[in-house]
Each structure stands twice: as structure tokens, then as C-alpha cells.
Symmetry: C2
Subunit: 334 residues, 2 copies
């Protein structure tokens, strides 16, 4: 009986390849993308690196795809969503910190005085980040993020923040994974903020999320080992830090990279400089009606030097207005 | 035609589960382990966490297994293999550094004066490590390691170092992966040294190797982006650093952990402290005939406090003499 089953299994394993190929032919994998040069370039690239007899074939193990998060996979306006989380947390924690009523930058946050908060600059931002993101165990922090992201609503769309992931990018992530790619987030946001919801929102597990980190220390509390988040920055995953972190965490050079701001420039350069096949793209926010339109002079997600470099280096530019049939899943498809 | 193929594919996908279960029943997955309490505990644990209706079922995504490298997956005597690499590199690089003939600790290395080199202490070791592991691009370093590990021979066994991986641990890694575990190395050795050969030797890809790191900087050379390895330690992956790095790189708490020295203690504690099922083990080197016998007073891989803690905390102790039918693949099986 076992022998007969094994023979059947051999037959089946041969047939699986046929099934996979039938399956991939059944539907457009990128239905929220308008037909055009960008969509075509993506499909051609994926076909090229996955076709076994192609000169540019890339083994599945080397199919590393990296994505910035804010402004690339989900919206980053009118402020980074993680900053919205931090400001909400200041308000939630305020009863336990009566001094915050009169202490900058907390007083500005509690009074919704955006201008005063902005004036507090990097130092004020740092104080708010440390007060809301550190001084607790990793488990407690994750629970706080999960609770927030389940309940909070985006001010413009009155939707959960995880509804504001870009539908075309979800399709792109799924398409790449179906073709043997391993998809990573490489975010300037902090790793454990993103990890708390990345698997549910993007299908990207925590071990494939790279981000900015706080110093985290192993210690004991009440007879149990814990990891405590400390009020000290460990690593800033932005600019040159992105390719450095890719090397440190992945140890392979990506063949596919998408960003949307000057902070992603070095990650895109590192990918573009790879010998052999690669696909490098920028998301350009051009659609104020469905999302936002901003680039060179934006305070959030400034896209200036990288946009010039895209033109010079032949990187793809994903123009939201032109290339995306719909931006969010909750929109009616055209 | 497509419809008929799709129906066949549905049938096949249902049948694959049956095939997988037939396959896993065909043979002992751990043939190089002697029957005994440790082998039994491993098999019972794996069955428990993978049985869908078990109270201690763990979803595949959470099946994280972490392994120390030196002394846990391959031999670490008479010196760490990476140190053997560093000393060989000093000799290979010496013609370009004439001053090394009279400059400690390099002169000691060039004269094979182990005693004088040991006397140079941490500082001497650091100078040798920086001179041989940094000051080059990541690509160049990887090539140097690959070349060395292909040609170098271990002094006692006159075998390639990658022949000195433990056969029972290879079987354990494969057994865990066949049961949906993701296997990681968490090594005090440097990440990029291990990554250069870990996939070939253990089936563990670079992105699942965590280790000590040097500062690595993104920069441009001859019009190309490169990552330069600098003479500065970024992070030491030892002791409390191990659970801290596991959190940083993986973001999940392991359910399976194996080490062999006091440097692995906090990693094992972190795993042992998890709520729900976990398996925690120490490799105890007890077989001077086939490998080495050492523990509490060893200079390399000292196992003292962790051995006491294993007894107190009910961690498994893998006694090489007792538990391993063979140590290396090149031995004749009993």
C-alpha cells in the first residue's frame, strides 16, 4: 500500500509544476494597475527572472524584493501614521503624567497645537517617541500597537489605518511571492510598530520587517526573562542605513526594490547597482483626489534627488494617477 | 481543457497532504541518534506542536528554532574555526605587511607561537580580527571565506571544516524543517563568516544567520555602490545579546533552542521562559575519542553555569557519547 501511495506521490509531484503554470495563466495578477509601461515592465521582469532558460534567470533563493513602507505600501499623509499613534498614546498616557499639561512638547500634543509641536523639532519628537515607545517590555508594546491599530481611524478617510494600504501594492507583493520572491519591508518607521500588524495587512511576517530600532535589553522581572525597550535609539533605518540593514539582516542583494522618497535613495541605488537583472521603482504621489500629490517640497516623504536619479538611472516611476486603477481596496473599481 | 486541469489540480492539492504524511512515516528521521530519552523527547515535542488537535499545537509561522553554531552544529576545538581562518589569513596577507614580522600579535601568529598570541589577549585578538575581517567590501570578504573553507583542513581530522558539522544535528535541522520549523543560527561568530557557507553546510540561508557584526558602511567606489566593512565592532552576539538579537532579527520568540556553552545561556532562558510548548537543550561534549570532552574549565566553549541551570530547569542535555550513534558523516555508522 505504501509503495503504491509513493508511486502516486511521484506522479503528483511531477504534475504540480503543470498545475502551477495553469494557475498563473488564469487571471491578471495586477488588476488594480492600469495597462501601461510600468505594469508591463513588472510583468516582463518577473517572467524574465523566473524563466528557467532565460539568460537572466535568478534562482528563487536570490529573489529578494524590498519595499519601503510609509508612502510606498500605505499612506503617509497628513503625517506618518506612526506619529499619529505616538500622539494618541501621549493623550492616553497623560492621566498618569500630570506634569505633561504644562511640559513641552507634551502640552502641545495634549492641546492639539500642531504648530507648537512642530517647533519643538527633533528633540520634541524624540521625547514623544521615547515616552510612548519605550520603558516597557516588547510584549506590552506589541499589544499596545495592536489595540491602537484596531481602533484608530485615519482623519481624512475615517478608515482603519490598515485600510489605507495600497491595493496595487498588495497585488504586487502577492504576485512576487507567487513567483518565488521573498518580500521584505525596509522602513524608516520602527520595526516593532510595523511588525505588530504587517503579517495581517501585507502577508509579510515579522522576520521580514526591517526598521528603525530602540535599544532593547534582556533582563529578569518577577522571575521571568523579559526584553525591555529602552529610551535610546539603536539604529536609524533611513538613507544609507537601508542598504546597510539589508546586508545585516538579509545578507543578499535585492533584485527588486520600491521606495517613494529620498530616504529610499541608497536602497534603490544598491539594488540598481547589482550585476544582472533588477527592477527599481519609485512611487510618485500625483493624485490629490484619491490620495495626495506631493514630491520635492513635501515635509513628509520628500521626493527630490531620487526623482532626478530615477530619470537618469532609468528607474521606473509609478505615477499613482496614471498607473493605479484604484488606490485603496475600499474604492469601487473603475 | 483549462477547467479540466484545474479540477485535477484541486484533486492533487488534496492528495499532497496524504503524500506528506506517508513520506514522514517511512523512516527514522534521526538515524544518527541513539534511542534514549533525548531522542524520544525531541520526537514527542515535534509531534505535540505539529498535531492539529493538540492543546500545545503551534502554528507553522511560530515554529522558530534557534541554534548556536560553534560546538553546537560543528566542532569548536582545538580553537574556534573562525580563529583558524583569521590566523591563516594573517599568513596569507603577511607579504603585503612586512612590518608584521616584528609586530605583535602578528609576529606571534607568523611564528606559530600560540603562547605569545594568547598572551596578547583580547586586544591582540581584536587586531587580528580587524586586520583579516575588515577593510574590504562585503563581496570581497565572502569570496575570501569561500576560498578558505574550500581548501583549509582541520588539524586533527585532516578534513574540510564543513565535514566537521555534526551529523545528528544535520538530521535534527532537516527533521524540524520537514515539520514546518524555520531554522536559525544565532552565533557568537561573525554573521558574514558563517553566511558564506551555511546554506551549503546546513541548508540554512544567509537571512537565517544571526551573528556578531562589524560596522558596515554604504559608499561609492569607481562609480559603483559598495558596502565597506570597517574596523569597528557593531554588535556582539553572545550572552544577553543572543535573545536581544533574536528579537531584533526575527521578532518572534523561539520554541526550540540548542546551545552548548555559557554564552548560550540567555538564549536558552528566553526560550525556556516562553508560555506554552518549548524544547531547550545543551550539547555536552563528553566524547574525547570521537570528538572532544570538555565543559566547566574549558577555554573554548566553557559550559558551567548553563549546565547547572539545565539540571535545575529541566533542559535536555545531549550527551555526545551517550546520545549520538555517530558524530560526523565521514565516520562509519555503528
Amino acid at each position: 500500500m505504501r509503495r503504491r501511495l509513493q508511486a502516486a506521490c511521484w506522479f503528483i509531484s511531477v504534475t504540480i509544476a503543470v498545475c502551477a503554470s495553469v494557475h498563473t495563466q488564469t487571471a491578471d495578477p495586477l488588476p488594480s494597475w492600469n495597462d501601461g509601461s510600468v505594469k508591463q515592465a513588472i510583468v516582463v521582469f518577473v517572467n524574465t527572472v523566473t524563466t528557467a532558460n532565460s539568460k537572466q534567470f535568478v534562482s528563487p533563493a536570490e529573489r529578494i524584493a524590498v519595499f519601503d513602507n510609509d508612502g510606498t505600501l500605505w499612506t503617509e499623509q497628513p503625517m506618518y501614521n506612526q506619529l499619529a499613534f505616538a500622539l494618541d498614546r501621549v493623550k492616553a498616557l497623560a492621566p498618569a503624567h500630570p506634569k505633561w499639561k504644562t511640559e513641552m512638547p507634551f502640552s502641545a500634543v495634549l492641546q492639539d497645537d500642531q504648530e507648537a509641536f512642530d517647533k519643538s523639532g527633533e528633540e520634541g519628537l524624540g521625547r514623544v517617541m521615547f515616552a510612548t515607545h519605550t520603558g516597557m517590555t516588547t510584549d506590552v508594546f506589541t499589544n499596545v500597537v495592536v489595540e491602537w491599530i484596531t481602533g484608530a481611524r485615519h482623519p481624512r478617510f475615517n478608515r482603519a489605518y490598515t485600510d489605507l494600504v495600497y491595493q496595487p501594492m498588495l497585488e504586487l507583493l502577492a504576485y512576487l511571492r507567487a513567483n518565488g520572491f521573498k518580500t521584505y519591508i525596509v522602513s524608516g518607521g520602527t520595526a516593532e510598530f510595523v511588525r505588530a500588524w504587517s503579517e495581517r495587512a501585507y502577508g509579510i511576517p515579522p522576520e521580514q520587517v526591517i526598521g528603525t530600532t530602540f535599544v532593547t535589553k534582556f533582563t529578569w522581572r518577577d522571575g521571568q526573562p523579559v526584553l525591555m525597550r529602552e529610551a535610546d535609539v539603536d539604529f536609524v533605518d533611513d538613507g544609507a542605513g537601508k542598504p546597510e540593514a539589508i546586508q545585516k539582516f538579509i545578507g543578499r542583494r535585492p533584485i527588486f526594490a520600491v521606495g517613494n522618497s529620498d530616504g529610499d535613495r541608497e536602497m534603490l541605488e544598491w539594488t540598481a547597482g547589482r550585476a544582472g537583472a533588477k527592477f527599481v521603482a519609485l512611487v510618485h504621489h500625483t493624485d490629490a483626489e484619491r490620495e495626495w500629490a506631493y514630491d520635492r517640497s513635501s515635509h513628509v516623504g520628500r521626493l527630490d534627488k531620487a526623482l532626478d536619479e530615477a530619470a537618469a538611472g532609468n528607474w521606473a516611476v509609478i505615477d499613482i494617477k496614471r498607473d493605479w486603477r484604484r488606490v485603496f481596496a475600499f474604492e469601487a473599481a473603475n
